[in-house]
């Protein structure tokens, strides 16, 4: 019943047992775990990869035909116009799966298991989010390659490619925060899927994603102007088309594409910080008193 040995040998064992947890180590451990899970999860694979590819192919084939040469007086093909929207869609879906992953963890007890472990809690979430950001980058890369094959043209070249990745990540963060907040509030998988995943379709359609704002009905334009997707798509599209595409505001202070990118990035950054703050607060509250 009692401890067989005591004294210095015990101390040594305990020291070596306890010493190897570092902040970066904790980040890495969770990063690896969520990468493994992403690859194994069919929902994640389908939602974040197959679905955007279907969108890209079908929209360009169906709408591309109808829109034809109406865009920018025929100098612009629809694939080029649509590709930024698909980049944003990819970010959106991954943002949604972030909360779904969290709610899964809450439901199967892994959330509690992580909380009762000595891992740094911030590191746990940074690791998880980093895995999602890597996934976004892989998906954007695939979408870009496929888009170029289908005839899209990234007019700002390397700058545009880097810009598209950056905008994709920046854009995803507010939705990551949103879906995680819903997850800890509802602690329910279905609610999180409905709130986070199905929201993407109405949000995408009432924005500048598929058509320029001025081609949309008045009331949709009104909603589109307060829809974060409009800002994400506009910023991405500015890189894609090498043009000031923002229709919400007419900014001229920065010159060229930056007249779109700077205000759009500002809007997204504010949104990221605000919703990120809410999410951190909610997750903190849920983890310091996880009462069912």
């Amino acid at each position: 019943m009692s401890t067989p040995t005591a004294g210095e040998t015990d101390e040594q064992v305990s020291d070596s047992e306890r010493s190897s947890n570092t902040f970066l180590g904790d980040v890495w451990v969770n990063f690896v775990r969520w990468n493994i899970k992403a690859v194994r999860n069919r929902f994640v694979l389908f939602g974040s990869l197959v679905q955007p590819i279907i969108f890209l192919v079908l929209f360009t084939q169906v709408f591309g035909h109808a829109v034809g040469n109406d865009l920018s007086g025929g100098t612009l093909n629809y694939t080029t116009f649509l590709l930024p929207a698909i980049v944003i869609q990819v970010s959106l879906v991954t943002g949604a799966t972030s909360g779904i992953g969290l709610v899964n963890d809450i439901e199967n007890g892994m959330f509690e298991k992580v909380l009762v472990s000595p891992m740094n809690r911030a590191a746990v979430f940074i690791g998880k989010t980093a895995a999602e950001m890597v996934r976004i980058c892989v998906q954007i890369a695939i979408i870009l390659v496929l888009g170029v094959i289908l005839g899209a043209e990234i007019k700002t070249g390397i700058l545009g490619i880097v810009g598209l990745f950056a905008i994709g990540i920046l854009f995803s963060l507010w939705f990551v925060a949103f879906s995680n907040t819903v997850a800890v509030l509802t602690k329910d998988q279905e609610s999180t899927i409905i709130a986070a995943n199905f929201l993407q379709f109405p949000l995408l359609f009432v924005s500048s994603a598929f058509l320029p704002l001025n081609a949309l009905p008045e009331w949709i334009q009104t909603i589109a102007k307060v829809n974060p997707i409009t800002y994400g798509v506009d910023a991405a599209r500015a890189f894609m088309l090498d043009a000031n595409v923002m229709e919400v505001w007419n900014v001229t202070a920065f010159g060229g594409i930056w007249n779109t990118v700077v205000p759009a990035v500002a809007v997204l950054a504010v949104l990221d910080l605000a919703l990120g703050g809410v999410a951190v607060y909610m997750i903190n509250r849920a983890s310091s008193a996880s009462v069912k």
């Binding site: 009692s2 190897s20 000595p118």
Partner: protein
């Protein structure tokens, strides 16, 4: 396994307590007083049982001791560390197995254990050896590379138990670890818990199963409505019931049973005021003189024309303890007939 209990506390006073909780209170934000006043002193190496019906405050207590909940009042010291001031030190020094099976279904058994090793900072050089050891211990070595969602409930539980022990903590919390398991799986876990306790690990076990507490635990506390209502070894608690139990089977209906109860109470057969309970099957009489005077009662009942179809004298079980303390039978969930039946092997009728 390897050398356990390597970092339990050595307090300045020289006491060796794994858990020291004083006047613990936990009130939820909706006003529910889940834990009203719980004090616990659990020495290192003890197999401690925390017993009580659903909703009595067992899980709330265990979550507070393991830093998942903050106490509203009172103090908690675990392995020498204050649970509120030094939660991370406490977390490093405990294993925790939640009531609901907690494994990542998308990962294999080995990956689950590896993640647990990494979570607890088990040195890289020791990981693979320890994972293999634990897989052997919980009999999952041959399915180590299979995803956990292919596992049966018992296998998941065993995997969960293994992940709680990767860092060889000196103290492990087991919150109803065998709920919902078949008897075979349950017995296997019991053996396992006894083995690690034998190696020096302090175990804090909550359970609704009286047989489980009876068989495994050195000492028990019974919690009811957030307060501890009884403490002691299983034998002590049984002694508190005050005697042995005479079960008499009467099939003639409630009126006859009621009449039989009056006879048992008023005839003076049992000298020191027995506790008589009318059950669905007959009578249950608790008295120190059950053996001496049991047959006298049977004769008296026959003289009154009451037919006795069976009888049995048995030592009290923890269910009797619970009944004596709370006036209620402990809840046994449906599907637990096996436990109820084995719990009563030294008696006759299962309850």
């Amino acid at each position: 396994m390897l050398g356990l209990a390597s970092m339990a506390e050595r307090t300045e006073t020289g006491e060796e307590l794994a858990i020291d909780a004083e006047n613990l209170q936990v009130t939820y934000s909706d006003g529910t007083e889940a834990v009203r006043d719980v004090s616990l002193s659990i020495p290192r190496g003890e197999f401690f049982g925390f017993l009580g019906p659903n909703g009595a405050g067992k899980t709330t207590t265990i979550k507070t001791l393991s830093t998942l909940l903050r106490p509203t009042g009172g103090t908690v010291t675990v392995n020498g560390f204050d649970a509120v001031a030094e939660p991370r030190k406490v977390r490093e020094s405990i294993g925790y197995m939640a009531q609901e099976t907690s494994v990542d279904l998308e990962m294999t058994a080995r990956e689950n254990l590896r993640f647990a090793c990494e979570s607890y900072g088990v040195p890289r050089s020791k990981r693979s050896e320890r994972i293999d050891e634990l897989l052997d211990l919980v009999d999952l070595a041959d399915v180590a590379e299979k995803k956990a969602d292919e596992f049966s409930g018992g296998m998941k539980k065993r995997l969960d138990a293994a992940t709680a022990l990767v860092h060889q903590p000196p103290l492990v919390f087991l919150d109803e670890p065998t709920t919902g398991l078949d008897p075979k799986a349950r017995n296997r876990l019991w053996e396992y818990f006894e083995r690690i306790n034998g190696q020096g690990m302090t175990i804090f076990l909550t359970t609704q199963y009286l047989e489980e507490a009876d068989q495994l635990c050195d000492r028990l506390s019974v919690i009811l409505d957030g307060e501890i209502v009884a403490e002691g070894s299983p034998a002590d608690l049984k002694r508190e019931v005050g005697g042995e139990i005479l079960d008499v089977k009467i099939e003639d209906g409630p009126d006859t049973r009621q009449r039989a109860a009056s006879i048992a109470l008023d005839s003076g057969i049992f000298p020191d005021s027995p506790a008589v309970e009318v059950t669905d099957e007959g009578l249950s009489i608790t008295t120190p003189t059950a053996r001496q005077h049991g047959t006298d009662l049977l004769v008296a009942l026959r003289d009154e024309g009451i037919t006795v179809t069976g009888f049995d004298i048995r030592a009290p079980t923890l269910d009797d303890v619970f009944l004596a303390i709370t006036g209620e039978h402990i809840e046994e969930e449906t599907g637990d007939e096996t436990i109820a039946a084995t719990a009563a092997t030294d008696g006759g009728a299962s309850r």
